[in-house]
């Protein structure tokens, strides 16, 4: 049985929340591990206030400037929810967004993207088959993968192919003929203003041969057929495994996960509870093995330093630079994560981001409307006037990959700037500058990118 202590709690929270403070760790440890997972992380979904009344407005009414503003508001609204969330909810909404990808750049109307996001939140821990059915006839998805152009006389394969390849069965578990037949089963769906509806005249109401069985499939029975294959369970479990445990998969454990999911008739909550309570999840070799996503880094750092009023426009700009443009994944496969986040372009951009939090300035020198208060943060540590202990405790709290003695020493030297540990005090006149340099250097370490 995995030990429930500061280290394992930090591991759990770093994978399930967008950042945490030492108070969050204390709170987690006040529960048993099972209770914390089931009652806090998997607490019933809460519906936040929407970003504006425009979500119910007929899409065509807005001019392009209004639309652009609302698109920005939508992104900012979601970043704020992530910053405020203390459960697994928003992480799962992001997971579903990255699974059932739609890109706002094609869907265009932020209303549709809002309602799709709402769908992901409603079903965040719900039933995977129910969610897949809902996504299949969701307006944003119908627009994004050309479902609205898929008609009896002229089928369009775009959605059918990605449904099988990326959303459910996985590549290799169907044929090109299955794609064509599935496309026929999905014909006839259209979008009227905000409302998707089935136009019976455009639906191919004849039999289709799909995965070796012939019947008159429609959007509903087609999904049922897809979910009869255990490949669908394995496919989604592999993706969850990579998101929450490790990018290198473990086939036997994924098999166990798939069994749990199939036994629960595709309910996601029991699967998440199983995964997050398993000994496998807490295996120490996984600690610090995940490369933070841009959202993990950007929101997580704010949360760790207790910045509650950031400038959301700035955060959205940086997310684009770091290649996690919310509501606009790069393509229908979504963000692949792990090493794909890192290149000689994004890595320095990540360092520039954490620098900017400390400096209160963008890379180009322009001010941003918030800043990490390094001194105030340091003083939340009782050890703040004992340089050696302080460097140790801060590293343990902020960095998941254990820092070597060498690295800690290097950070200590930056903090002391050539003086001795006995001369260090947060009350010394140079403390503010030195703490800035110290926090910048700490977050510039490659280790800081791991969680």
């Amino acid at each position: 049985m995995a030990i429930w202590n500061v280290t394992s709690a930090q591991h759990l929270l770093s994978r399930c929340l967008f950042g945490y403070t030492s108070r969050d760790i204390t709170l987690a440890l006040s529960y048993t591990k099972n209770d914390y997972v089931n009652k806090v992380l998997l607490a019933p979904v809460t519906a936040p206030a929407p970003p504006g009344n425009w979500i119910n407005e007929e899409p065509a009414l807005a001019d392009s400037a209004t639309r652009a503003t609302r698109q920005k508001d939508l992104v900012n609204w979601w970043i704020q929810l992530m910053l405020q969330d203390n459960s697994l909810q928003e992480k799962m909404v992001l997971f579903w967004h990255n699974h059932f990808v739609s890109e706002m750049i094609k869907v265009a109307h932020p209303q549709h993207m809002y309602w799709q996001n709402h769908l992901f939140r409603t079903h965040a821990f719900g039933n995977f088959r129910t969610l897949t059915k809902a996504v299949t006839t969701n307006a944003a998805m119908l627009i994004y993968l050309d479902g609205i152009s898929n008609t009896k006389n002229k089928p369009n394969e775009n959605y059918a192919r990605e449904l099988l390849e990326l959303f459910t069965l996985g590549i290799g578990n169907y044929t090109d003929t299955d794609v064509k037949e599935a496309a026929r089963a999905l014909t006839g769906w259209q979008v009227d203003k905000l409302r998707p509806f089935l136009n019976p005249g455009k639906f191919d109401n004849t039999s289709k041969t799909f995965l070796g069985k012939t019947e008159n499939y429609n959007h509903d029975t087609l999904i049922d057929a897809i979910f009869k294959s255990p490949k669908t369970a394995e496919h989604i479990c592999t993706k969850l495994y990579k998101e929450f445990i490790c990018s290198k998969t473990d086939a036997p454990f994924i098999k166990q996960m798939a069994t749990v999911l199939l036994d629960a008739d595709y309910e996601i909550k029991p699967l998440l509870a199983f995964m997050l309570n398993s000994d496998h999840f807490y295996d120490t070799r996984f600690i610090g093995s995940k490369i933070k996503s841009p959202v993990d880094l950007l929101v997580g750092t704010l949360k760790a330093f207790e910045v509650s009023n950031p400038e959301y426009n700035y955060l959205a700009d940086v997310l684009r630079l770091l290649q996690q443009n919310l509501f606009n994944p790069p393509n229908v496969r979504g963000w692949e994560g792990q090493r794909k986040w890192i290149s000689s372009s994004t890595f320095p951009n990540r360092q520039a981001l954490t620098d900017s939090y400390i400096n209160g300035k963008r890379l180009n020198g322009q001010s941003i409307k918030f800043q990490i208060d390094g001194l105030a943060y340091a003083r939340t540590y009782t050890s703040c006037n004992n340089a050696i202990v302080f460097v140790n405790e801060v590293s343990t709290q902020l960095v998941r990959y254990p820092l070597s003695a060498n690295k800690k020493n290097l950070l200590l030297n930056i903090l002391l700037e050539g003086t001795t540990p006995t001369e260090w005090s947060t009350n010394s006149p140079m403390a503010v500058t030195r703490l800035k340099n110290f926090f910048k250097a700490l977050m510039r370490l490659p280790e800081y990118q791991l969680c």
């Binding site: 002229k154 590549i171 070799r285 996984f286 093995s289 000689s344 994004t346 360092q351 990959y401």
Partner: protein
């Protein structure tokens, strides 16, 4: 830890430790570096990836083929709009700039490029093109990454002064991965790249071989690569000036940066650039015209820039896309995922013209998609040998087997040999019943005779006899010959080139 890995890390660390505390390199890169001809022959390959699956049939249009218009009643490019290249093939009107390249003999086109059992998934097929694998083979590194590991055999211990490859963008491509990791630096803009790496500190902890330790080692390597190369990239970008105005598009900006780095003297032999927007499932006419315009304008500006700066002899640009699209249009005035498509190779050393015939729209696969005529790795092989100068053995090791080269260049960079003044390239289809296309290439304007001989040596048909200009030509032969084997013979100036043909 393996010794090799240890040495590599030490080498990389050596680079980053040369940085002062504020990130300003202590070692100046001011002296002009001579080309290291042992590593590269000074030739540069610029790859341009067209994301989404470019519709080849609406890019290079078989405008005399009625079947094309039958299968594409709504989205077929009208004959009168086509930018004709010859009597039966023409470009999309959005690519007018390409006609000048073609007429100048700098545009090589290879028709019907693909591979056996073409995959129609964006992601799988992209991986196949990037890795150079067969359809049913999974490779986890790129054909360029593997090529670089042959061009720079000592790169692990002897870090090259200039990046081995540069990718314009933000997410590193599999193309530039070798079996031992990343071979490239990735950035969007040389100036911000330089600015951002300032302030990183040296890292000399030995990496651990744990799960997390290997991820950390990866992060450190990228970090070192960034700091190592940021200053030389900035220096060369500052030095090299663009001599033309590039279109204000993403691909225009990317190629402008590539041209300035080349003009500034950066020795990097491979660049990767990307243009997106080719996944045209619906209402494709306008969208496709837009992306093709961007492509054509950026490439023509790039070529003209290189010619002004005197770099054109060294540089070749090749386009590629994960697949072409379905022959028949879908119901949304778009096209679904398909298979083979044409590919462009552009440069002064390129022997311009069209290799291969128009797509065969009759003989399709069971999905209604084109059958490929050339394997994509034939082009890779040709570029590796005839442009980058790698030998046959290395090319085979890189691509896993031997592929027949195409006549894409005036002479081979590997052997230095010029290709013959005339060459009968292809008879297509072969065997044929009533008609076939005979494709050949002339290096200069000569009087030729193209005819068919039976096995008794009797000339049974003369297809063409007369003076013709340099370049690629194709003649249609249409006549019923008795069933059997024949020799097609192209002759001129005392030289001959022949192919066996079979009439069925």
């Amino acid at each position: 830890m393996k010794r090799r890995e240890f040495i590599r890390n030490m080498g990389l660390l050596g680079g980053s430790m040369a940085l002062g505390l504020n990130g300003i390199p202590l070692k100046a890169f001011s002296s002009p570096l001579l080309l290291n001809i042992e590593q590269t022959n000074g030739k540069i390959l610029v790859l341009l990836q067209m994301n989404g699956g470019n519709d080849g049939l609406n890019t290079l249009i078989p405008y005399e083929d009625d079947l094309y218009y039958n299968k594409r009643p709504q989205i077929g490019i009208k004959k009168q709009d086509v930018v004709a290249l010859n009597e039966f093939t023409g470009l999309n009107p959005a690519m007018a700039g390409f006609r000048n390249l073609y007429e100048d003999g700098k545009l090589g086109i290879v028709q019907n490029v693909g591979y056996e059992n073409h995959n129609r998934s964006h992601f799988r097929s992209t991986d196949i093109w990037l890795s150079g694998s067969d359809a049913d083979q999974n490779l986890y590194d790129g054909w360029v990454g593997r090529s670089l590991s042959y061009m720079y055999p000592d790169f692990e211990t002897d870090i090259p002064e200039h990046p081995m490859a540069i990718q314009l963008g933000a997410v590193e491509s599999m193309l530039l991965q070798s079996p031992i990791g990343s071979m490239s630096v990735v950035f969007e803009n040389p100036n911000t790249f330089y600015q951002m790496v300032s302030g990183s500190i040296a890292d000399d902890d030995p990496p651990e071989s744990t799960l997390a330790g290997t991820e950390l080692a990866f992060l450190r390597k990228i970090s070192s690569q960034s700091t190592n190369y940021a200053s030389v990239v900035k220096e060369k970008a500052d030095k090299g000036k663009n001599t033309v105005t590039y279109p204000n598009t993403s691909i225009g900006k990317q190629l402008a940066i590539v041209a300035s780095l080349i003009a500034g003297g950066l020795e990097t032999p491979v660049y990767l650039t990307t243009i997106s927007g080719f996944d045209t499932h619906a209402n494709q006419l306008t969208a496709h015209a837009k992306t093709l315009t961007q492509l054509s304008e950026a490439i023509t500006a790039f070529q003209s820039d290189l010619e002004t700066t005197g770099m054109a002899d060294r540089v070749v640009l090749m386009t590629f896309s994960e697949f072409g699209r379905r022959v028949e249009e879908n119901g949304s005035r778009g096209t679904d995922h398909g298979t083979a498509a044409p590919l462009f190779v552009i440069g002064k050393s390129v022997s311009g013209g069209i290799i291969g015939g128009n797509p065969n729209l009759v003989n399709l696969d069971k999905n209604g998609d084109l059958l490929h005529q050339y394997d994509y790795r034939q082009i890779y092989t040709t570029i590796l040998q005839d442009h980058l100068g790698l030998n046959k053995a290395k090319t085979e090791a890189i691509l896993g087997k031997s592929y027949e080269k195409l006549n894409l260049f005036h002479k081979s960079a590997e052997t230095g040999f010029s290709f013959a003044p005339l060459q009968l390239n292809k008879v297509y289809p072969n065997p044929f019943q009533y008609s076939a296309a005979f494709e050949y290439e002339l290096k200069r304007s000569i009087h030729i005779r193209l005819s068919i001989f039976d096995l008794q040596g009797r000339e049974v048909a003369v297809i063409y006899d007369g003076l013709q200009n340099a370049g690629r030509h194709s003649q249609h032969f249409s006549n019923r010959l008795a069933t059997g084997t024949y020799i097609a013979l192209l002759s001129g100036e005392g030289r001959q080139s022949s192919k066996k043909v079979v009439v069925v």
